[in-house]
């Protein structure tokens, strides 16, 4: 049942510019860093001398948290608004599916779409580094950390966004929340470690950033469960 639901959801995002945005996010980040490094090549290669790849990942990593959080808000809003715009929640939920499944499949699709954009970011970062002549001595672990950790640490926001976007028909609510989260995510350094919005920046005081990822996944799971239970009980059409 999940498989078939997933296929219908995949069909619904055709011609909604979703795939374009999923591509544009990482492409935009890489394009900006390309300009940054091309325009200031001498200055930046001197500053990052000895760890050019690390410097590149650091520069990319600065942009990733706000971009991925805004990406989440927009993509999730599109997924939810497909049903709001056509007033098709009733139809969808009248089909022989469980409400729980509908909610979880929407989340799963959003999660996978953004994961694809992270993979594209990783490929883009590799190509950029090679094109800039940083050599083949690639720092693989920092590459993976830069590409995927901020996203996984930001998963609680994704879980919250899907609930907001579905429960509140006015997408301004979900998008405003996304904007707030992205602004906060840039100030991870100054926030206490226990604030979830500080996790995507990976600038918490824990020795290993994998801590941010596990906490993110754990909290996302809790929020997703609460969101699902609430959605199942709620009359969505009036929202």
């Amino acid at each position: 049942m999940y498989g078939r639901l997933f296929k219908t959801e995949l069909l619904k995002i055709k011609r909604k510019w979703v795939w374009f945005l999923i591509f544009l996010g990482p492409f935009g980040v890489i394009a900006m860093e390309t300009l940054n490094f091309v325009l200031r090549y001498d200055y930046l290669t001197k500053q990052y001398a000895g760890h050019l790849w690390g410097g590149l990942f650091q520069a990319i990593g600065f942009l990733v948290p706000p971009v991925i959080i805004l990406g989440m808000a927009i993509i999730i809003s599109i997924l939810a608004n497909i049903e709001h715009a056509n007033a098709s929640w009733k139809q969808l939920l009248a089909a022989p599916v469980r409400k729980r499944q509908v909610f979880l499949v929407k989340f799963a699709l959003g999660w996978l779409l953004l994961l694809v954009s992270c993979v594209l970011l990783m490929i883009g970062a590799l190509i950029l580094g090679l094109a800039l002549g940083f050599g083949t001595d690639i720092a693989w672990k920092p590459l993976l950390v830069t590409s995927f950790y901020p996203y996984l640490a930001a998963m609680p926001i994704l879980a919250f966004q899907i609930w907001l976007a579905i429960v509140y028909k006015n997408q301004g609510v979900a998008l405003t929340t996304g904007i707030l989260a992205s602004v906060f995510s840039m100030y991870g350094v100054v926030m206490p470690d226990w604030v979830p919005l500080a996790w995507p920046s990976l600038q918490t005081h824990w020795s290993n950033p994998v801590m941010n990822v596990w906490l993110g996944i754990g909290l996302a799971f809790c929020i997703l469960m609460i969101g699902t239970v609430d959605f199942v009980r709620r009359d969505v059409h009036s929202g």
Binding site: L21, L24, F62, I74, Q171, V173, T176, I179, L180, V183
Partner: protein, 246 residues
Amino acid sequence: MSFLKTIHAEFYKFRKTFTWTVLFLSPIIAGFAGFFTYSRLSDGHPSKPWMLIYSPMATIHGMLFLPLIVGVIVALICRYEHLHGGWKQYLVQPVRRWQVYLVKFGLAAGAIAVIQLLMLFALLAAGILNGIDHPFPLEMVLKSLIGGWIATFPLIALQLWVSTAWSSFAAPMAINVICTIPSMLIANSATYGPYYPWAQPLLAMMPNAKSAGILFVSAETLFLVIAGSFVIFFVGGLTFFQKRAY
């Protein structure tokens, strides 16, 4: 007469929807940021205590929040008409299309002005709660807040164009985000920063001693970049709106 009624109707819709709550978010957050930055860094007696509070406030507000919230406010202002064929009902009233467009622009600009005013109150509150007794640098703060406000005009104009064009909320937001994110890098560049419209809210709000002009952006930036892009986006949007079939 119809002009006044249009203003009244727009204002009514603004009050009766969730839109107005958005105005308070950034001033509250920036106020807290300013308050805590000061209490953390002010050991000893800083020579410019108000600046110590205001600088983080202006950065957190101007870099992402202000340009992005413009998109939300404009989309919310157009939302009511996009629902249930509201445009058709609205435009068969004895009002001119350009009047509707102008009033919606004015409402959005007014909303941003209220945000900037609330920023002033947030700064005052953060300063008073920290017990600052230095004279308040009113001229600097007003220059910054008014500059930031004017710098959003081209952004409002573009968002109004795309928000009247598409009923979906996500499309105008995506465009807004795509244009705003690069300013995170571009605003740092002394060479390219002054030419990028989306970097102007931040640049116009950052107080700098060098700028002797009326605002914290140079006259070239003000007239060429801000006014220029405003005219292009506003005329483009209005022309499109005049011909648009709903």
